[in-house]
C-alpha cells in the first residue's frame, strides 16, 4: 500500500493547459476524491498519476519514488475506466486474467487468484460469460475485479459509476466503499458529483479551471471552503453569498451587513472593497427578534426540513429550517446567522479571508 504525493504537477496539451501547478498528498489507504466540474483537469490529473499521460512538469511520488515519467506498466497502479474498458472479445475470466498473464503469473496461480477475486465481488457465476451481454453492474464488478486481481499499490477510478443508472449507482457506491474499507488500498477516485465525493471520500481535492481549489476532508471542505467556487460547488442548496461593501481589519469579529452588524469568526487578515458574507442555508435561522429583515419569496418542503427563499437587503438567499416552522410567502421575517460558521470572501479573488474558523485548513492548502 502506498502514499502518493503530487508536487507542482502541470500538463499542457499544446496551447491548452489542462492542469496548472498542483500539489497534494494522498495518504496510504485513503479513499481520495478528485472532485470538480467537467473539464477542470481532474481526469488528466488521475491519468498522470496512472501514467496514461506524462506531466509537462512536476513530480509524482509513489511511496517516495519519483514515477512521473515512467510508463504505466512500471507503476503498479490499477485503473478503473469510466466506460469500464473491458476487452470486448474476451469472456469475464479472460478479462480478469489478462493483467496476471501479462505479468507472467503461472496458470494455476492465475486461476486461484481469479477465484478469490470473483468470490470477493460475487461474480463466480458469470466467469465464463462474454462481457458483451453483462448488465452495467456486472461490468462494473468485472472492471473492479480486473483492478483488484493485481493487488496494485493504488487504484485509480475515473468516474466508475458514471455509466450506471441513478438507482444502481448508490448501491454500487456503497459496495465500492465497503470493498475499500475491507482492502484498505489507496484509491484515487474522480467524480463530478459532490454528493458522491462527500459520501465516499476520506479526502477530497476540489479542482476548477485546471487548478486545485481546496484539498481536505469532506467536513473541512464543506464547513471551511477556501474559495467561493468550493463553497458554491459543494452543498445543495449551495452557500449563500451576501455581497457587501466595506473594510475589515485583522482581529475584527463582526462586519457591517447593510447596517446590520453580524458576528463572524475572528478575522486574521484584512480586506477592503467588494466582500462576500458566505453562510450555508442551514446556518440561517428565522428569528423575529433579529433586526436583519427579509421577505419570504418561496418555500420548498423537503420532509424534515424546508428551504425558504428570502429577499434580503443583500440579495436573495436560501435558508434551511425545520419543516414545522411557519414561513408564509410575502411575510417579512427576521434572520440570524450562526456566527461561527460564516466565511468572508474577497469577491475579486474569490478567496476566503483567513479567520479563526478556517486558518488551520487554509494553511495546509
Amino acid at each position: 500500500m502506498a502514499q502518493i504525493q503530487i508536487s507542482n504537477i502541470r500538463k499542457d496539451f499544446g496551447d491548452f493547459t489542462a492542469v496548472k501547478e498542483s500539489s497534494f498528498t494522498i495518504e496510504d489507504g485513503e479513499f481520495f476524491m478528485l472532485l470538480g466540474p467537467s473539464g477542470c483537469g481532474k481526469t488528466t490529473t488521475l491519468r498522470m498519476i496512472a501514467g496514461l499521460e506524462l506531466p509537462t512538469s512536476g513530480e509524482i511520488y509513489l511511496d517516495g519514488e519519483e514515477i512521473s515519467q515512467k510508463p504505466p506498466s512500471q507503476r503498479d497502479i490499477a485503473f478503473v475506466f469510466q466506460m469500464f474498458a473491458l476487452y470486448p472479445h474476451m469472456n469475464v475470466r479472460k478479462n480478469l486474467s489478462y493483467p496476471l498473464i501479462s505479468q507472467g503469473m503461472p496458470r494455476a496461480q492465475v486461476k486461484a487468484k481469479i477465484d478469490e477475486v470473483a468470490g470477493i465481488l460475487g461474480i463466480e457465476d458469470i466467469l465464463n460469460r462474454p462481457v458483451g451481454g453483462l448488465s452495467g453492474g456486472d461490468r462494473q464488478r468485472v472492471a473492479l475485479g480486473r483492478a483488484i486481481v493485481r493487488d496494485p499499490k493504488a487504484f485509480m477510478m475515473d468516474e466508475p459509476l458514471g455509466a450506471l443508472d441513478a438507482e444502481f449507482r448508490e448501491h454500487m457506491a456503497e459496495e465500492l466503499r465497503a470493498l475499500h474499507d475491507r482492502m484498505g488500498a489507496t484509491t484515487v477516485y474522480v467524480t463530478h458529483d459532490q454528493l458522491e465525493a462527500m459520501q465516499m471520500g476520506d479526502k477530497i481535492v476540489v479542482m476548477n479551471n485546471s487548478v486545485v481549489e481546496q484539498f481536505g476532508t469532506p467536513q473541512e471542505i464543506y464547513d471551511k471552503p477556501a474559495t467561493m467556487f468550493v463553497a458554491d460547488f459543494i452543498g445543495s442548496p449551495s452557500m449563500n453569498f451576501l455581497p457587501f461593501e466595506g473594510q475589515v481589519a485583522p482581529g475584527e469579529k463582526s462586519i457591517d451587513l447593510s447596517g446590520f452588524s453580524s458576528e463572524v469568526p475572528e478575522l486574521r487578515e484584512g480586506a477592503a472593497g467588494n466582500l462576500i458574507f458566505g453562510v450555508r442555508p442551514e446556518n440561517i435561522q428565522l428569528n423575529d427578534t433579529s433586526a436583519y429583515r427579509a421577505s419570504v419569496l418561496a418555500t420548498e418542503y423537503l420532509g424534515t426540513t424546508q428551504i425558504v427563499t428570502l429577499d434580503s437587503p443583500n440579495g436573495e438567499l436560501k435558508a434551511r429550517i425545520d419543516a414545522d416552522q411557519v414561513a408564509t410567502v410575502g411575510e417579512k421575517v427576521g434572520l440570524s446567522f450562526n456566527a461561527d460558521t460564516v466565511t468572508v470572501f474577497d469577491e475579486a479573488s474569490g478567496r476566503a479571508l483567513r479567520s479563526s474558523l478556517n486558518e488551520g485548513v487554509l494553511n495546509n492548502g
Binding site: D12, F13, G14, R47, G51, L52, E53, L54, T56, P71, P72
Partner: protein, 313 residues
C-alpha cells in the same frame, strides 16, 4: 516529450509509419503515373526500349484518341493545302490525314448515360426500398434483405447466358435501357444495404412530427427523410457509379456499338497498324479522371461505402 500519452504513437513510430506509407503510395502510383506519361508520348517513344522516362511531350496520343486517320502517299500529301490546325499538323507528320472523329467520344457519352442512368435508378429504387425496410414492418424482412444481398454474390457469367437470351428476345441487347436495367439490378443490393443504414440513423421523430403536421407519408418521405439522407445518398451514388463506370464483362457480352461503354473500348484502340499505346493511355487517363476526382472529393465517405455498411459505429 511534453504531450506524450500512452495511446499516442511516439514521434519515431509516426515518422516510420509515415515513411513506409508514403513509400508504398509512391510505388503504387508508378503504374498510374506511367499511364499518364504514356499519353503524352509519341507512338515511337511509347514502344522504345529501354522505356523512355524523359521524352518530348506530344499531344499525338490525344489527337489519335479522338480521330481516325487515313494514310496517304507522301506525294499526295505534298499536294494537299497546308494543314489548318495543330492537330492536322501532328497527323500529317505521320503521312496521314484525319478521316473523321473516332468512336471514343460516343463510347464516353455511353458510359456517362449508362453510368449516371443506372446510378440514378439504383438510388431511386434503392432509397424507396431502404426506407420501407427501415421504417415499416415487412413480413420476412430479414429474409428479403438477405436475398437482396445474396444476389451480389452471383458470378455475372452465371446469369449472363439467360440475360443474353432474354435481351435478344426482348430487343434489349446493345441498348442503353438494357444496360441501365442490368447495372441497376447489380447495384441495387449495395444501394439498399447502404441506404438502409443511413436512413436507420435518421430519427423517426422527424417524420412522425411531419405526419402529425398533416403531411402524407409520401410528403414526409421526400420533404423530411430525403434531405436528411442526402449525404448518405451521395456517397452510395458514388459507389454505384464507380461500378457502372468500370464494368467490363457485361459490356463486352451485351453491347456492340450503340450502347458500348468505354472500358471494353479503351484497350482496343488501334492506331494505323498496331496498338496505339499513347492513344490507349490518353483514353485511360480521360476515363480515369472523373473517378479520381470523385474519390478525392468523397474520401471521407469511402470507408462507409466500402464496408457495405457493415461498419456502423
Amino acid at each position: 516529450m511534453s504531450s506524450f500519452s500512452v495511446t499516442e504513437p511516439s514521434k519515431r513510430i509516426k515518422w516510420f509509419a509515415g515513411t513506409m506509407v508514403i513509400l508504398y503510395a509512391l510505388i503504387t502510383m508508378i503504374p498510374l503515373a506511367w499511364i499518364m506519361m504514356t499519353g503524352f508520348k509519341t507512338p515511337p517513344d511509347s514502344i522504345s526500349y529501354p522505356p523512355k522516362v524523359i521524352f518530348e511531350p506530344s499531344l499525338e496520343g490525344y489527337v489519335n484518341l479522338f480521330t481516325t486517320r487515313t494514310r496517304i502517299a507522301p506525294d499526295d500529301l505534298a499536294a494537299l493545302p497546308p494543314p489548318e490546325t495543330w492537330y492536322d499538323e501532328i497527323v500529317r507528320d505521320r503521312n496521314m490525314v484525319i478521316a473523321g472523329p473516332s468512336k471514343f467520344g460516343e463510347r464516353f457519352v455511353n458510359s456517362v448515360i449508362i453510368g449516371f442512368g443506372s446510378t440514378f435508378l439504383s438510388i431511386f429504387l434503392g432509397t424507396l426500398a431502404a426506407y420501407a425496410f427501415s421504417r415499416f414492418k415487412i413480413p420476412l424482412a430479414d429474409d428479403l434483405l438477405f436475398f437482396i444481398l445474396s444476389t451480389r454474390m452471383m458470378p455475372p457469367i452465371a446469369v449472363a447466358i439467360p440475360i443474353f437470351l432474354m435481351y435478344r428476345n426482348l430487343g434489349l441487347s446493345d441498348t442503353h435501357l438494357g444496360m441501365i436495367l442490368l447495372y441497376t439490378a447489380v447495384n441495387i443490393s449495395l444501394a439498399v444495404w447502404l441506404l438502409k443504414g443511413f436512413i436507420d440513423e435518421i430519427p423517426r421523430e422527424y417524420e412522425e412530427a411531419a405526419l402529425i403536421d398533416g403531411y402524407t407519408r409520401f410528403q414526409a418521405f421526400y420533404k423530411v427523410v430525403l434531405p436528411q439522407a442526402a449525404t448518405g445518398i451521395a456517397s452510395t451514388a458514388i459507389f454505384c457509379l464507380i461500378f457502372a463506370w468500370n464494368e467490363y464483362a457485361f459490356a463486352v457480352l451485351l453491347t456492340s456499338a450503340t450502347a458500348q461503354t468505354a472500358p471494353p473500348f479503351i484497350p482496343t484502340i488501334i492506331g494505323v497498324g498496331g496498338l496505339d499505346w499513347p492513344a490507349v493511355a490518353a483514353g485511360a487517363t480521360i476515363f480515369l479522371l472523373p473517378v479520381m476526382i470523385f474519390t478525392i472529393l468523397l474520401r471521407k465517405h469511402l470507408l462507409r461505402g466500402i464496408t457495405f455498411g457493415a461498419v456502423r459505429k
